[in-house]
């Protein structure tokens, strides 16, 4: 992000996108989604909701860290920063003038699979922001001075989120050591050397390749009049031309793992040993993702979850233990992560995590655990849809991971359909001994 970057992510499941449809107690009406495609290929999704006088505007581009040019990892994210600089008709930071200065906010984030730009503004500024988003879709300037300065900012972002965090580098290893072929291995933030290799010319060609109406979704939720909104969209986005060149896509498939691989990594200022155990996950559209979300809650959703109860509470070997579903379009990661308590070892963490895995694989889950997990997922869904921006994010995630904004309205139904047998089945299917990468991480120079 311009303000926060999401490379690996817990957010992938924290921001899970669900909606209530026909659930027993509380009910939330499905989002009333209007969808159309402009002649230039831009897909427009809108939800009119006049509850509060604000509007959330998201422009989602089908380009992310996985599309970084060869030898220039971190590029897509650095380019995202450039999108706040001048355009033909806007000076640098004009987006801030049109948002922050009138009481709204803006930001953007680059993920492995996509990049989003978004604003929340008082609704009388909606037309202004539609103009501005269309403007930067087509009229961006890339000048050397801005490029150099934003590269320095991104390097500071790297230092802050990776180098200055005791476990920052471990999460970079989770990407780089979990994939052998797929560009997901490079991570979104990249590294300092490859950031230095990027040029303004690279930015220009990246912009031309990927920033175009037929590679984007405009998603707007909030206080507007539908007819006016459609007119504005036609007026400002309709005039953006569709380029003729085809859009390059990542076609590399990560090969299935054939044996367990183990790594020992160190870094300075690491207070306690930690371990990450990763498994390749199915693509985000796979039907098994629903059962994996339920498993995620049972293993890792709160202090009554299995990992907390076992590693943190009863054995007291970990200060933190989690199971994560890092969903990605071409196949993400399922991983266990734990940080040791004072005096405990990474080996003890690995043993305990694998014991919990074996338990769920052999004994399955209880009906009560299943019900609890579903209740938690329903609450998450309702909370995620509390305001206009939350609704826009939920729609955007359905676009990103399932290719269809309307699937946001069936998420809860699909989770409700998960059975205890489904959970046990997916835990056996993906968590095999040969699909395992184990990364131990500790202080360089020995225990600290």
């Amino acid at each position: 992000m311009r303000k926060t970057l999401i490379s690996f992510t817990l957010a992938a499941w924290v921001l899970m996108t669900l909606v209530i449809a026909g659930v027993a107690q509380v009910k939330v009406a499905p989002l009333d989604i209007k969808e159309r495609t402009l002649p230039n290929g831009l897909k427009v999704v809108s939800v009119q909701d006049n509850t509060s006088p604000t509007a959330a505007i998201h422009v989602w581009y089908n380009v992310g860290g996985k599309n970084d040019p060869q030898g220039k990892s971190g590029f897509a994210h650095m380019f995202e920063h450039m999108m706040f600089k001048s355009t033909k008709n806007m000076p640098n930071e004009k987006m801030d003038r049109l948002t922050e200065d009138v009481g709204g906010f803006n930001n953007a984030s680059t993920w492995d699979d996509f990049t989003n730009y978004y604003e929340v503004v008082p609704s009388n500024y909606l037309e202004t922001l539609l103009w501005a988003e269309a403007e930067r879709m087509v009229n961006l300037n890339v000048d050397d001075k801005n490029f150099a300065s934003e590269r320095d900012v991104v390097k500071e972002e790297f230092r802050q989120s990776v180098l200055a965090q005791p476990y920052g580098q471990l999460f970079e290893y989770v990407s780089s050591l979990s994939y052998t072929q797929h560009p997901y291995k490079r991570g979104v933030i990249g590294d300092l050397d490859q950031l230095n290799a990027a040029t303004p010319a690279d930015a220009k060609s990246f912009y031309d390749l990927y920033y175009r109406p037929d590679n984007a979704y405009l998603i707007v939720v909030g206080d507007f009049d539908q007819a006016k909104f459609d007119t504005w969209t036609d007026k400002y986005f309709g005039r953006v031309k569709r380029p003729t060149a085809s859009i390059p896509r990542v076609t590399i498939k990560e090969p299935a793992r054939t044996k367990e691989t183990r790594y020992e990594k160190t870094a300075p200022n690491v207070p306690f040993p930690a371990v990450a155990i990763t498994y390749l996950a199915p693509p985000s559209k796979d039907a098994d993702i629903a059962a994996l979300r339920v498993a995620n809650k049972i293993l890792s959703g709160g202090e009554s979850s299995r990992l907390y109860q076992s590693l943190v509470y009863k054995q007291q070997i970990a200060q933190e233990a989690s199971f994560n579903l890092d969903n990605k379009v071409d196949g993400g990661l399922l991983y266990f992560f734990a940080i040791a308590s004072e005096g405990k070892t990474g080996a003890a963490l690995e043993k305990a995590l694998l014991a919990e895995l074996a338990l769920i694989q052999t004994k399955g889950i209880t009906p009560k655990e299943l019900e609890k997990a579903k209740n938690q997922l329903i609450s998450d869904a309702i909370e995620s849809l509390e305001d206009n921006d939350g609704k826009a994010i939920a729609i955007e995630r359905s676009v990103a991971y399932e290719g269809d904004p309307k699937l946001v309205n069936t998420n809860v139904k699909r989770l409700q359909a998960v059975t205890a047998a489904d959970v046990q089945r997916v835990m056996k299917k993906y968590f095999t001994d040969t699909n395992r990468v184990v990364i131990h991480y500790s202080n360089d120079g020995g225990a600290k």
């Binding site: 509060s52 200055a164 200022n269 004072e342």
Partner: protein, 487 residues
Amino acid sequence: MKNTLTLLCVLCALVMSSFAQEMPPAPGVPKAVSVPAVQEKKLPNGLTVAVVQKSQVPLVTINLLIRAGASGEDASKAGLADMTASMLTKGTKTRTATQIAEAVEFLGGSISSGAGWNTSFISVTVTSDKVAQAMAILADVVLNPKFDQKEIDLLKSQSLDGLTYNLKQPSFLANYVASKYSFNEHPAGGTPASIGVISRADILKFQQDNYNPANSVLVFAGDISAATSSSLAAKYFAVWGKGKRPIKELRLDRLTKIGSADTSGPRPIVNRFLVVDLPKSGQASVIYAQPINGIGRSDARYFPASVLNSVLGGGYSSRLNQEIRIKRGLSYGAGSSFAWRSWKANFATRTQTKNESAAEVTELVIDELRKLSTTPTAESELIPRKSGLTGPFGLSLETTGGLANAIGELYGFGIPSSALNSYVANVNGVTDAQIKNFALDNLLGGDIVIVGDYSIFRADLAKRFPKMTVDVIKADDLDLSKDNLRK
């Protein structure tokens, strides 16, 4: 230097406008943001019940706030208030810690508790069909905590591990040090030494002294009516016995800072330089810290201070972020804040930069403080930075959690909830003269605290600040329980 910069910017603007071919469409007619009404009631035992009904989403946040926090604990027992609140969910007379977590999470909800400097809280958010069950658990943990020794031991070891982890992060470490060095307080999360000595008796005493209905407010925000809220509050909390009279926040008299300032002559912007040396640190954290005694949260100057902060370091477009990040690429972000107490405020600017540029960033921070205290803020800057406060204020009231926080903050300081309705007008009424005077009167004479790899920025710091004496402490030698901060 400053003049040159200004000229350049004027040129920039001219160049921009010269090739601008299209202007953004003008905004439409603004609509008013509605501030929801707070309904308030007192139970016979003195417990205040505050309700804001907002029914669009079937969610309810219930927040019990106790007007006692880290300010009420002894520095040698730093972390006691937070530990007491955290222990509430770790077992009652009839439920174990695991059963409490199990019960709340089965409702699809979450429960959290803790303490800051001013208040302690326990909060739960659930879907509106599960409010009664959630209230039963909330009341049980407040009224019947067991404070089991085994649970205390576990929480203490978790807190110590957490501190060890956080103290490896330059920004955490810088704030932690400034709390004692500059603000004459102690960290609300405790120190390794203080956590070690907190006993069950301390926790019981803190609870008995401070947790009572007259000293508390129960906030309901979301999809729930005032009538339902009142009857739930009465059903579960009427039995809460009347405790001692509400305590006032301790007015610490230790106003003289360590190594007290030379107050003769014109006030320098920086009084002291402290460096905490953290070898191999990935970045340096640079803080400017200045306590403002005598101006508390309910003082009318809260509003000039808030607008000042918005101008200086309150958002992406603030001056610090403009100068440090946007113009020079020296950081991912730079900002400032006031931490409010009932009778004082702690002002700090914060940023992280590569070790190599720590001294340069320090200079930029000082330049901005000087500018703020000598030059009026133009109306063209003031208006958007005021919107930077009022807009997010409106947005924050759109979620039950945001509503509960906004109301809780006011009650924590004994400020009537009608302040929500006057907030926007109060912000908009602030003048440039008030800001300049506030800066001149209150912001200068503070400390620069830098945490990072000193070997990298030592020479540059000496070069840029030849007259300053720099006090250097190795991170491994730090001890906040000592006046000289050293083990």
